[in-house]
Symmetry: C2
Subunit: 380 residues, 2 copies
């Protein structure tokens, strides 16, 4: 999507490939929202490192990054011996997979690239096919997000007040995003609406990434504490909730997403506010049978006990001078030092709280997914 740097607006993708240098270009997400920076991973080892160190994160984005990383690795091979080349590519895949061992997207993305490579008869042909397949994977991610946008934009009218949680925006995909896709599409249709971004403690992806995206795209928005949505719903200030998901169970319609999603769904149900989940098809898990079986990661307690930010005066209009040593991204301990924390990273929302699932193939009720599994990409 568009980013304005020093007054100049340009279109960027989260992940791209620079063919002449064989480099993967990534938006450095760890610097946002305070600094916009593109970093170049110059070889597949650096690309694996960028996935591991969370320079890039989000299902679609790390899938495309791994696909490009595999092409990058293929190009690094010198010689014409195909069996040797295949063993080399195996090593590349292992390393890219190990960068984020629990994620399924890099694995699926690399499987597609390797399948495409098989048509090549020489090392050079296979190298070219790898890059073409990686590009196709990235472009498909964009096409799917755009389709989510087309279907979801129908839910938004001028004047709609939307709540979203965490970041399921273009920074988590190659472009466009899932939960944000309907907003960007509605904006392109000339609709004027307002978005409330839950700050999404403890990692604050709503206050940092989603708010940054919407500001760049000039969509009117405000950040709220996670505590405030219930009050705003009571006062009639929220008309629609759209969130993303980390995993939807195709058999039950249960939705795993960032911690706090379930709470917003319970509140929306109480207030009769439609609650939608926007996802690409790759987010649907057709195997798992019960939401209770979804492993909920317990993350490091330091996330809850403090916050990351840029030190500064809360009212910079009055004073912006600070010691130079405190202008970098800094962790502050907020909580009582002797207290510990519980930090579940995700929760599971049951289907009866969800109005619809916005997919590239249309909007479905969560219980409809299984019946439409062939349309939604499950091959037997």
């Amino acid at each position: 999507m568009n980013v304005t740097v020093r007054g100049r607006t340009r279109h960027y993708r989260t992940v791209t490939f620079y063919p002449t240098r064989k480099a993967v270009l990534l938006i450095e997400l760890r610097r946002l929202p305070h600094e916009f920076k593109i970093v170049a991973a110059k070889n597949f080892r650096e690309t694996a490192g960028a996935i591991h160190d969370m320079v890039v994160r989000g299902a679609g984005a790390i899938g495309a990054t791994a696909a490009y990383g595999l092409a990058q690795g293929a190009f690094a091979f010198r010689g014409h011996d195909l069996p040797k080349f295949r063993r080399y590519v195996d090593t590349v895949c292992q390393m890219l997979k190990a960068a984020r061992p629990t994620a399924v997207d890099p694995v699926n993305a690399m499987r597609k690239v390797r399948a495409a490579m098989r048509a090549g008869k020489t090392v050079t042909e296979q190298q070219q096919l790898a890059l073409a397949a990686a590009e196709e994977f990235a472009n498909e991610d964009v096409v799917h997000c755009e389709a989510i946008g087309r279907h979801g934009a129908r839910l938004i009218r001028s004047g709609t007040k939307i709540l979203t949680h965490c970041n399921a925006g273009w920074l988590a995909f190659v472009d466009v995003g899932s939960a944000t896709a309907p907003m960007y599409a509605a904006q392109a249709q000339g609709k004027k609406f307002h978005v409330f971004c839950d700050e999404t403690r403890p990692r604050s992806q709503g206050a940092t990434l989603t708010a940054w995206e919407l500001a760049q795209q000039r969509i009117p928005h405000q950040i709220i504490a996670d505590n405030a949505a219930g009050h705003l719903m009571q006062r009639g200030e929220i008309d629609l909730v759209i969130v993303g998901s980390d995993r939807i169970l195709g058999r039950t319609g249960e939705v795993a997403n960032k911690i706090g999603t379930y709470t917003k769904a319970v509140l929306a149900k109480r207030h009769g506010i439609p609650f939608y989940v926007a996802i690409p098809l790759s987010t649907i898990d057709w195997k798992m049978k019960r939401g209770r079986d979804i492993p909920i990661e317990e993350r490091d307690e330091t996330e809850v006990l403090g916050a990351w930010g840029i030190p500064g005066d809360p009212h910079p209009a009055f004073s912006s001078r600070h010691p130079s040593c405190v202008t970098r991204h800094t962790y502050v301990r907020v909580a009582n030092p002797a207290s510990g924390a519980r930090n579940p990273g995700f929760d599971v929302t049951p289907p009866e709280l969800i109005t619809g699932i916005i997919t590239p193939a249309g909007i479905f009720r969560p219980k409809e997914l299984w019946g439409r599994r062939h349309q939604l990409g499950l091959s037997d």
Copy 2:
């Protein structure tokens, strides 16, 4: 309650009076949880300043502080002319009231002190009566909180997992607190239980003040992000919710409290978890007829856009060296700099979500309050 400083445990009140110096001693709440410090307000102007600057906050605590401040002001008068003395005391009251113009507790506290002073026939007698009345006011606050604790402790068994929101602890009263009173009483009865403290963004009073209180009292507890309570309830990890309140409508049973309270009540209802509100009688508003009329303060957006804390390594075990210029209490900007925020400070919970109101006179259903208004202190 007990505070351990450098290995030595002593009992403290949030507010006390040091008679020989005529000073009001206050726990400096703005330094907690990172530093425990008692400050002395040496005259009524400093006491008013401490209320204004939020050295002390919380209904019971600022009521007692204003009562002591009035006695302090009375002692500052030199001479024997009663009419002049009365005019002087008027000025003192005005200044103490103006320190927190929307709060009702300082006004009520000072009314009691002035009523008691009228029995004195000389300036000296009235000065002594003022101090005695202020002491009585503070002691009554403690007695009421202890009574809340006696009634509420019945709700807690060994093994109970309690959720609380914000800080309605002894730091908000003279001692003991309201929402914490049942916990302290249950602990004294030898019960072993666990408390989850909502961090309570944006001001984080749960992570700072409540967690500090519970740690000092050696009650097992953990801080959670405000987003996590729903998930814990789903998993059966919360048995009971106890919160405080800023205002309960005696006519309807509606409860105004820190933003996020309503959300926790909605979640508790869905999961069949009892939800209690603990209050002294002074919190009941017998006049207002509808919860919608309660003014909801919209606070400064910088609270949502950042956080206050002590800079440091998130894992101090690995490294604790930092430039000395960043060891003080620091504001960090977390959110996207170009985004704004909505920051409602309170919300209103309807009576159907509340299991009971724990008062010094017993536990009542919210709708019962009006029928028992005489027992609960409303004089016609």
